[in-house]
């Protein structure tokens, strides 16, 4: 039972979290277009659904709070309140509080904060600011005006086929059938029992076919309006007379059901139109299709259909750890697979060896003077050659099957990865609000354009990418986009533009943050670097503009304040780069002074399995992620130059600084002779190229990333581990960490 409750709570929280994301985007949409009925209905639906769900799982504070929001939104829907920017801000705050409440509940706590009372106060004032308070569901407005006659429309009754057949049966027995609607007096002391009194009275005088709302519902809550469908031998006046109980009842409406009326009822029922409810309380909160109807009015009708259609898609909610487990198993499979591939290669080599040796052997045998019957010898030769042919055939079959397993495991890998993919919308949806808030704080006008929200990224990356993006966007608003006055004076549009765009490109996801602000001046960066003595003057003076831009990603390039004065960039950019590189991506920049800046983030499709270049250093396996490899060349010793005690490789008229892994990891000196073959793996470091020298390269492979406990294992340059084909452990190299570590040491030495 407890498990069941837990599950319910879990389901509610999951749904609520996704709903409040919608809430924010709809509210922001409303800010631009306050009369957008679609968005109004959407926010109302969200508040209503959360209220209902919270009630079901007993999160009372959430229920109460959303109830208030729902009231306000209902008034907005009914045009009693206009949505000003202030009101939107209040509602956005309410949304944030709601999120905090949900978060607290998810952690098993109840959120308590003075902000709740503050926000509730504003909401309540907003609500009471409308003179003839719009009815809240619990206290219908009509209560104040009992003189108004009760309306009864038979075609709106939710009658089932069974009810209709009961009516038909009664009519065929020459009985009268009436539909009676009573409006009860809610001031009456014993109002809760009114409907039961009516029930027993009607029951005495005939048969009750239907009660709306049902008895169960009447038992739990008082309803002002109750409808009975009864069959009786008495006439209409008699029934009306008998049941009009003073004090209890305010008004009665009665419809006589004859055969004509019945066919009308039947036809309205068979059109498939869901009958509208007579009172708002007549359905449970959890009923979603019903909830939509609560939105009343025809204008949300098409949306209803769309939502219903969406619900009909067959989806399966699976907890993410189950997919992770699957992925782990898949990882094991990939490792086992590479063992087989290795074995297959070995077999291939052995087969060739045996074939050549056998040829020599057989040739040799011919020259020997063997004793014994020639036939026996020839027979044995045949047997041997048959056995070998069979063995080779088996090898071939093995090889075929290895390839088959390869194919299956790659498509399995693709499919499981796909399961972990979520639209980047989950990340992007949080930004419009953020940009709006920062821009209004800074008195800037900014238009945020978001493209490619449907691009899918690995669920594990969602949280990791959020911080760097927020950093870039904040920088773009804060330092990139100029104030409206400055923009006007430069002949630019007053409203700055920030474009956030995601797209798939080959094996990676590319996210671009582009602004049309003031751009970055590379020369200013050079001066800054010279002033802080971050690098050697000679190095800095030789740097091209592209390389200079890379400086902003260096840790400690400068503090926020200094950079703001100088160029307006660089605030925590080293952290941005670090975060992105941690998830296997890289970040680049292009800028035109006065025109704007573009940051390009490239991320791998997935986190769990990467393509890596397997290498061997001092007998140990290492992996360099293919994403950071530009090319691999064999070093020609003639092209090595010694500069300031460090080697550099001349490659196509460019000098690339190099570092040897055996020197970095094992402290062994790097020296190259004509006889040894060394490889240089050219990697990208910001905008520069750096060569990593290794002696043995095995090749490209699928690498299953196994995390290392970095609290306990602190080895600069090693980001994670993997298990290679033969079961040994290999280390995954973080090239930029190695390079920056190496350069730092280099700078120190000078």
């Amino acid at each position: 039972m407890e498990d069941f409750t837990k599950e319910l709570e879990q389901d509610f929280l999951e749904e609520a979290f996704s709903l409040i994301d919608n809430l924010e985007s709809s509210l922001l949409q409303l800010e631009g277009n306050p009369s957008d009925t679609k968005s109004i209905n959407e926010v109302f639906r969200v508040a209503h659904t959360i209220k209902g769900g919270a009630g079901t799982v007993g999160f009372e504070e959430i229920q109460e709070f959303t109830h208030l929001i729902e009231d306000i939104l209902d008034m907005v829907r009914k045009d009693k309140i206009k949505l000003s920017t202030d009101n939107i801000t209040t509602l956005l705050e309410s949304r944030d509080i709601l999120e905090k409440m949900l978060n607290a509940r998810a952690a098993g706590k109840v959120y308590e904060d003075p902000r709740i009372a503050q926000n509730t106060g504003v909401l309540s004032r907003l609500k009471t600011s409308v003179p003839s308070a719009v009815k809240t569901p619990a206290v219908p407005a009509a209560a104040v005006t009992p003189a108004k006659p009760v309306e009864l429309k038979s075609d709106k009754l939710p009658l089932t086929n069974e009810d209709l057949s009961l009516i038909n049966e009664a009519l065929s027995k020459n009985k009268n059938v009436f539909i009676l609607k009573y409006m009860l007096n809610d001031k009456y002391e014993m109002k809760e029992v009114s409907s039961f009194q009516l029930y027993s009275l009607l029951n005495d005088n005939g048969e009750i076919i239907k009660i709306i709302p049902s008895l169960d519902e009447l038992e739990t809550e008082f309803h002002r309006e109750v409808v009975f469908v009864v069959s009786t031998s008495k006439d209409a006046e008699y029934i009306k007379d008998k049941t009009f109980l003073n004090e209890m009842i305010v008004d009665i409406a009665l419809i006589v059901v004859d055969s004509k009326k019945l066919s009308e009822l039947e036809s309205s029922n068979s059109t498939g139109e869901k009958p509208a409810d007579i009172s708002e309380e007549s359905k449970t909160d959890g009923d979603k299709t019903g909830d939509k109807k609560n939105g009343t009015d025809g204008d949300d009708e098409p949306k209803d259909d769309a939502t219903l259609e969406k619900r009909n898609l067959s989806t399966l909610r699976v907890e993410s750890w189950k997919v992770d487990n699957l992925l782990n198993l898949l990882g094991e499979l990939v490792i086992a697979k590479s063992t087989y591939s290795q074995l297959d290669n070995d077999f291939d080599r052995i087969t060739t060896d045996i074939k050549t040796t056998m040829k020599e052997f057989l040739n040799g045998i011919l020259k020997l003077n063997l004793t014994g019957e020639p036939e026996v010898v020839s027979e044995k030769n045949t047997t041997l050659s048959k056995a070998l042919t069979q063995l080779f055939l088996s090898f071939d079959t093995f090889s075929e099957n290895v390839q088959k397993i390869n194919r299956i495991s790659s498509s399995l890998q693709e499919n499981v990865m796909n399961m972990r993919m979520v639209p980047i919308q989950t990340v992007f949806s949080r930004f419009p609000r953020l940009i709006r808030d920062i821009a209004s704080k800074l008195d800037k006008k900014i238009d945020l354009i978001i493209e490619g929200v449907e691009t899918e990224i690995d669920k594990g990356m969602v949280d990791d990418i959020f911080d760097p993006l927020i950093h870039l966007l904040r920088n773009a608003v804060d330092h990139g986009i100029e104030s409206p006055e400055v923009r006007r004076s430069q002949g630019k549009a007053e409203v700055g533009k920030i474009v956030l765009k995601a797209a798939h490109e080959g094996d990676s996801i590319v996210i671009e943050v582009t602004d049309d602000g003031k751009g970055i001046d590379p020369e200013a960066l050079r001066e800054k670097a010279l002033a802080t003595k971050l690098m050697d003057r000679t190095v800095l003076e030789r740097m091209a503009h592209r390389e200079l831009l890379g400086l902003i990603f260096l840790p400690g390039f400068s503090t926020a304040k200094e950079v703001s004065n100088l160029s307006g960039r660089g605030v925590g950019m080293d952290i941005v780069r670090k975060k992105i590189e941690e998830i296997g991506g890289n970040v680049g920049i292009s800028t035109v002074k006065g025109k704007g800046t573009k940051f390009i983030i490239r991320l791998p499709l997935t986190l769990a399995i990467i393509q890596g270049l397997l290498i061997v250093v001092e007998g140990m396996f290492y992996v360099i992620p293919v994403a950071s490899v530009e090319e691999t060349v064999i070093i020609n010793p003639k092209n090595l130059k010694l500069i300031n005690g460090n080697y550099a490789l001349e490659l196509r008229d460019k000098l690339i600084p190099i570092l040897a892994l055996k020197n970095f990891f094992y402290g062994l000196p790097f020296n190259i002779q004509e006889s040894t073959k060394e490889y240089c793996i050219v990697t990208k470091f910001g905008e520069r190229q750096v060569g990593i020298v290794v002696s043995e390269v095995i090749g490209e492979q699928d690498i299953v990333i196994k995390p290392l406990n970095t609290k306990l294992i602190k080895s600069p340059g090693i980001s994670a581990a993997t298990i290679v084909g033969n079961g040994d452990i290999g280390y995954i190299i973080d090239t930029s960490q190695i390079i920056s570590y190496y350069f730092k040491v280099g700078v120190k030495n000078k």
């Binding site: 196994k706 995390p707 406990n709 609290k711 306990l712 581990a721 452990i729 280390y731």
Partner: protein, 172 residues
């Protein structure tokens, strides 16, 4: 049958004796060279024989390396090096000494191995035989010990996992 009865009686008697004392914790006692140490079983996930251990470059020699335990890659420490005893296994790129044992320890979310020479026995600490040892902490390297357990004529040092983990995390 008769033998069993005697055995049962003996166990009953032992348990009775234990019941009269306050059991503090149960531990696994093990050898490092000729010394005996013990670890609270609560933190012991498993005891395994040595599989291949791969040294991680540029790490302290107190970390012997990492091993692959059912798909997880976990660090293995040399308790000898931590206690400033000499460990012949230190600085080997790959360790394959199958005579040795590794105690896999699980403290909160951190899982790591401790290389030991051999298992001595299971041991029960009661308020009778266990002394908390603040006195041990006066030596810097000894702050990883929580107390001393008397077992017949032997004095067994009890490792305080929390302190040991803190020490490990502090290692550069």
């Amino acid at each position: 049958m008769e033998e069993n009865k005697i055995l049962n009686k003996k166990i009953d008697k032992e348990q009775n004796t234990l019941r009269n004392q306050n059991i503090l914790f149960q531990g696994i006692a093990f050898y490092l060279d000729d010394n005996i140490y013990t670890l609270d079983v609560m933190y012991i996930r498993s005891i395994i024989t040595v599989k291949k251990i791969f040294r991680v470059p540029n790490t302290t020699e107190k970390v012997l390396g990492v091993l692959n335990l059912r798909g997880s890659i976990l660090p293995v420490y040399s308790l000898k090096m931590i206690l400033e005893l000499d460990d012949p296994l230190k600085n080997q790129n790959v360790i394959t000494d199958e005579e040795k044992f590794i105690i896999m320890v699980n403290k909160d979310k951190d899982v790591f191995g401790i290389m030991i020479d051999s298992i001595y026995k299971k041991i029960v600490a009661t308020n009778e035989n266990y002394r908390e040892g603040n006195f041990l902490k006066q030596w810097a390297k000894n702050f990883i010990f929580g107390g001393v357990l008397l077992d017949e004529d032997k004095e067994i040092l009890v490792i305080n996992i929390e302190n040991m983990l803190k020490y490990m995390i502090s290692l550069k």
